[in-house]
């Protein structure tokens, strides 16, 4: 894999995913299955928090199929997770356009109730946020994304993303302390 890390633009740590994506681009299903295995957990967790359990798996499947078709375009400059989530985000937008009843703005509380108490509280907190605030909070606080990565996904300037995250955190704190934020 060393030959890949020496390539211009490939971010350190992306070599394995890049090698697997290259093999997938050549039609290697086993390599792609390894990518699915490695990335389905965070992707589905994000999608179910953002869009609800019911749609999360369908969006994730669509995203993986698109990722398979576009494997050749993954160049390793971004993390595979970031690249894949961007595809999934676009799949979700396409679904929203196709289905007028797509509940993207509906709080996910009722649709993705986690069994634990903390999960239920998170559902309550997220339901108080806008979709953009929710996505930026989940990715930056829960999934360890950089602000730059989240800003790119949500197609917003870095400064706006940072203030969105700050606003989401403030809203969470306000909800936890029982106050109102608006």
């Amino acid at each position: 894999m060393r030959w890949l890390s020496g390539r211009a633009g490939v971010k350190p740590g992306n070599e394995v995913d890049l090698a697997l994506a290259r093999r997938a681009a050549g039609g290697d299903e086993a390599a792609f299955a390894m990518l699915v295995e490695a990335h389905e957990r965070p992707l589905r967790a994000f999608l179910s928090r953002q869009f609800g359990e019911d749609d999360a798996d369908d969006i994730a499947q669509d995203a993986f199929l698109k990722a398979w078709r576009r494997s050749a375009s993954f160049d390793g400059r971004a993390r595979y997770a970031t690249w894949l989530t961007r595809i999934a985000w676009n799949c979700a937008i396409d679904r929203r356009r196709a289905r007028r009843d797509w509940p993207v703005d509906t709080p996910p509380e009722a649709r993705s109730v986690a069994p634990s108490e903390a999960g239920a509280e998170v559902g309550r907190l997220l339901s108080a946020l806008t979709p953009q605030e929710r996505a930026s909070l989940i990715l930056c606080e829960g999934h360890g994304w950089t602000h730059g990565e989240a800003a790119e996904l949500l197609a917003m300037p870095l400064g706006t993303l940072k203030s969105t995250v700050a606003r989401a955190k403030a809203r969470c704190r306000a909800t936890i302390s029982g106050g109102t934020n608006d």
């Binding site: 957990r41 589905r44 829960g142 403030a170 704190r173």
Partner: protein, 117 residues
């Protein structure tokens, strides 16, 4: 202070669990299904193009033959005979195309059942 509590941050993180083999299998099954469908679509398109070309070539050939002065004279003198000749040529072409389609179908390997479960 705008930091979220650690418990909330932990709840926002992806769950710690083993990879979902069922999901991986579903994705790979859909992938295979899609690939197979694409191959079938491509084969059908190739067949349509080939048949279109064959028909166009036949039509061009007939037109070219029809331009021959002797044939033009015969057609002018006895139109009934010309009609019978056109009918015979068209029947022969149809039979040829049908036979080639049957042969093509017999030559292809049997289609496997695709399961998405």
């Amino acid at each position: 202070m705008t930091d979220v509590p650690e418990s909330i941050r932990a709840a926002l993180a992806p769950p710690r669990r083993a990879p979902d083999r069922g999901f991986v299998l579903k994705v790979t099954a859909r992938l295979r299904f899609e690939q197979q469908a694409r191959l079938l679509r491509r084969a059908a398109l190739r067949q349509i193009v080939a048949q279109g070309l064959a028909l166009a070539a036949t039509a061009a050939g007939l037109w070219w033959i029809w331009q021959a002065p002797d044939l033009a004279r015969i057609a002018a003198e006895s139109p009934d005979l010309a009609l019978v000749a056109i009918g015979a040529v068209l029947s022969a072409t149809t039979l040829l195309i049908a036979a080639s389609r049957r042969r093509g179908r017999r030559g292809r390997p049997a289609r496997r059942a695709i399961s998405t479960t």
